[in-house]
């Protein structure tokens, strides 16, 4: 096609059509359409915003014969815990034929899912989680205060420690089903007698370590400890050993104190000064693999992994309390946490009074003596009921591993369950984990940065006072800004068409 011909046809076309025919229509219509889209989106924002349900009805029927359905998230990890949960559930449903329980396993139902669900008013009626996660959720208003529903004799049947774990600002917000923390596992093939002091533990670890750097698959380590793993859960045990703590009694972090710094230095030195731990551990699984294959003497871990280690090490496995620090005169005190069941608030789940009644019956059933006995024998969960604890002690009088756990239980700290604790975990992972990965030796400056980060985040989240939202005003402002931007974008994009 020649150029002149092309031009000619163009001209012909432009003569046939009005020069800027309908261009204004086009623009006007487009602006209207785009604006309509934005307004539609804005409306969805306004109307989809979850509204809080009505006030909490405190009167809960003593009994109910009406049929009621409750939803439950979390039946424990697959295996023993889930098995016990299911058998208890079957028994419960036989006892209360008018209550139907809809259950989803704990897996895939993480706290983040619970938070979104609670915010949308769509949370389950009963949820199972650790006492500190539940504490943060209670502080957010998603969890029901059970103090007025449970009588004192029921509460007194649980150990003081677990009840403290589930109490925040004087309110009991859940019922504990077990209690546990970490102790010191050791492989008797490599270490004959349990260390009583930290000094002895380091000696044992140094004796065992055979670091043959050329072939990683044959080296043996005394005490592999990845500081970046577990988000500082295990490390928390060592602050008390040096006289330190995470939060002081005013719930203010004191992580830059000299005591906390020496505790982290101690753990850091296992790798970089004492050379009894390898570098580059990124997950607990890597520590476990070394321990399972007779390539490490010690591992700090909880009773939930005991059956796993037994399957590898058999009778060589033993457990003892974390050893006394003879230099400072203190014992390490692992966080002795608790998992339990709690009921969600009407705002988070729209729970009705009859559902609260059914949920109370359900969580009392799942935490009763029979269930806890079964959990202990089938899943190794340490009971939270005093009576079940006595049963467990009786059962394991001759078991050396149980003796180790009972020894550890004497030196523990209560799980901090106020929401500020939330900032400890991930920041520990970021700052102290980085120290371990880098091997930079500057522990005190890292602890200072850690402290600053936690303080600044707590201030950022708590400082801003919440004012009620003026939806029409701010929605209008946002809509106006977006519309102006949309119109501007339209004119920008259509500008070149005229040429």
């Amino acid at each position: 096609m020649s150029n002149s011909k092309k031009d000619a046809s163009k001209e012909a076309k432009s003569r046939l059509l009005p020069k800027h025919g309908n261009v204004f229509w086009l623009k006007g219509f487009a602006v209207v359409a785009v604006t309509a889209l934005f307004i539609l989106g804005g409306f969805v924002v306004l109307f989809s915003h979850p509204q809080g349900s009505g006030p909490l009805s405190t009167s809960v029927p003593a009994t109910s014969s009406n049929s009621v359905t409750i939803t439950v998230w979390g039946s424990g990890s697959p295996g023993g815990e889930q098995h016990v949960f299911n058998s208890t559930l079957a028994y419960f449903e036989a006892q209360y034929p008018n209550i139907t329980v809809q259950d989803s396993p704990a897996i895939n139902v993480a706290s983040t899912n619970f938070a979104s669900a609670a915010h949308a008013g769509n949370a389950p009626d009963v949820y199972r989680d650790t006492s500190d996660n539940a504490g943060a959720l209670y502080a957010s208003g998603s969890v029901l205060n059970l103090s007025s529903y449970l009588n004192q004799s029921f509460v007194n049947s649980f150990t003081t420690g677990t009840i403290k774990d589930w109490t925040l600002n004087g309110a009991l917000y859940g019922v504990p089903v077990n209690t546990n923390g970490v102790g010191l596992y050791y492989n008797m093939k490599l270490v004959k007698t349990p260390p009583k002091t930290v000094y002895q533990m380091l000696q044992d670890a140094a004796n065992v370590t055979k670091n043959t750097t050329s072939t990683t698959n044959t080296s043996v380590w005394g005490m592999p400890y990845g500081l970046g793993t577990n988000y500082g859960y295990r490390a928390a045990a060592w602050f008390p050993a040096f006289g330190g703590q995470i939060f002081n009694s005013q719930e203010v972090p004191v992580l830059n104190s000299s005591q906390d710094t020496s505790a982290v230095s101690f753990l850091y030195n296992l790798t970089y000064v004492k050379n009894v731990s390898p570098k580059g551990l990124t997950s607990m699984a890597q520590e476990q693999q070394l321990f399972e294959t007779n390539r490490s003497a010690f591992i700090i871990d909880g009773p939930w992994d005991q059956s796993l280690y037994t399957s590898y090490l058999g009778s060589n496995l033993n457990v003892t309390a974390l050893p006394y620090d003879n230099a400072t005169g203190h014992y390490p005190a692992p966080i002795w946490g608790s998992i339990g069941y709690f009921i969600t608030s009407p705002q988070a789940s729209g729970i009705t009074s009859s559902q609260i009644w059914a949920s109370l019956k359900f969580i009392q059933f799942e935490t009763n003596l029979t269930a806890q006995k079964n959990l202990f024998t089938k899943a190794g969960d340490f009971p939270s009921l005093k009576a079940a604890g006595a049963f467990a002690a009786n059962q394991t009088a001759s078991d050396p591993l149980a003796a180790g756990w009972i020894a550890q239980e004497a030196h523990t700290q209560i799980q901090p369950n106020f929401p500020q604790m939330n900032f400890y975990w991930s920041n520990f992972h970021t700052y102290v984990g980085n120290l371990y990965d880098n091997g930079t030796h500057n522990v005190s400056s890292v602890m200072q940065a850690f402290q600053n980060a936690v303080v600044s985040q707590i201030n950022q989240e708590t400082a801003t006072p919440a004012a009620p939202v003026n939806w029409t005003l701010y929605g209008g402002i946002i809509a106006a800004v977006v519309i102006v931007a949309g119109v501007g974008a339209f004119f920008y994009t259509s500008r070149k068409k005229k040429n």
């Binding site: 990683t216 551990l281 980085n434 919440a466 004012a467 939202v469």
Partner: protein, 302 residues
């Protein structure tokens, strides 16, 4: 040829109102699944929606933004995001282009076999293969370190040392994405008629001169488009850093999108997370507008 050479322009400029019915699904999707979450995100970023103000949050203006701009992390995170996106783009896009050019040679055998093998990284679900890579790159017992041990190189902490972590995630991202770019560029390169190459050969052009004088000028806008959208996609690519290093060690591989996730879900600070996401979007929008101004790459859309 002439029909294809002249892309169809609508001569009749009268707007077709009924055409809105045709694209109704697209409009609905835009309104509900794009505008709505974005507006909600903007709104959240202006409130104090966090675990302390979970149901009773309120409007705080630009407090979250001023906190972010005052925090020492922002600069590191933006620098990481740039290193990650630029680093990934400059290896994966040219590699894809190069492979496409090599496979476009006239009498090369086995093209089909090579192309089929390149399908593996693209076709396998990415979250599976990323976890496989994280095991292969493990410091203790990872197959990469084992293989390096055979040639006498001592183990390297691929994912946990600040020197190698960023390199490793870019490397894995390269593995994941080079096949995609190979296929895209093959599609572009194949559209150049063979006669042009033959003419270039007759004029005595070598391979390099053919590339710079024939192929690249013809595919200018395509290359710009693919590169820039590769950059944007990488910028928002969450899974690779999140599953491989989780942003660690420290925050040395934390990019804007993973940091937004960390703030929202680890610290339950949904407002701050939304503010980070908005900042990321604004940077990208400015980037697209500026690059489009210079390359006119968007013109291949219409």
């Amino acid at each position: 040829m002439t029909e294809r050479a002249m892309p169809i322009k609508n001569n009749n400029r009268r707007i077709d109102f009924k055409s809105l019915l045709w694209i109704l699904p697209v409009l609905i999707v835009l309104a509900f699944l794009d505008f709505y979450p974005i507006l909600e995100g903007i709104y959240f970023s202006l409130t104090d929606f966090n675990q302390f103000h979970f149901f009773n949050y309120g409007f705080v203006g630009f407090a979250n933004y001023s906190y972010i701009f005052g925090s020492p992390e922002l600069r590191t995170v933006i620098a990481n995001t740039l290193v990650w996106s630029v680093g990934s783009t400059v290896v994966m896009v040219p590699a894809g282009f190069m492979l496409a050019l090599i496979m476009n040679q006239k009498n090369l055998r086995g093209k089909y076999i090579y192309r089929s093998l390149y399908l593996f990284p693209w076709a396998f679900p990415a979250f599976l293969t990323i976890l496989v890579w994280s095991n292969m790159l493990a410091y203790n017992g990872g197959v990469v370190n084992d293989l390096l041990g055979l040639v006498g190189i001592s183990s390297i902490a691929w994912l946990t040392s600040p020197t190698y972590a960023m390199f490793s995630i870019i490397f894995v991202n390269f593995w994941l994405s080079f096949p995609y770019y190979t296929f895209v560029y093959t599609s572009a390169v194949q559209s150049i008629p063979n006669e042009l190459y033959e003419a270039a050969e007759m004029d005595g052009y070598g391979s390099l001169r053919t590339l710079t004088r024939v192929t690249l000028p013809l595919l200018k806008r395509q290359v710009a488009f693919i590169t820039i959208f590769g950059f944007i996609f990488t910028w928002n690519n969450f899974y690779v850093p999140f599953l491989l290093t989780g942003g660690g060690p420290g925050i040395s591989t934390q990019i804007l999108i993973t940091y937004s996730y960390l703030e929202a879900f680890s610290y339950s600070n949904y407002a701050l997370g939304a503010a980070y996401a908005i900042i990321s979007i604004l940077i990208l929008l400015v980037f697209v507008i500026v690059t489009n101004h210079y390359t006119k790459m968007m013109s291949i859309l219409y």
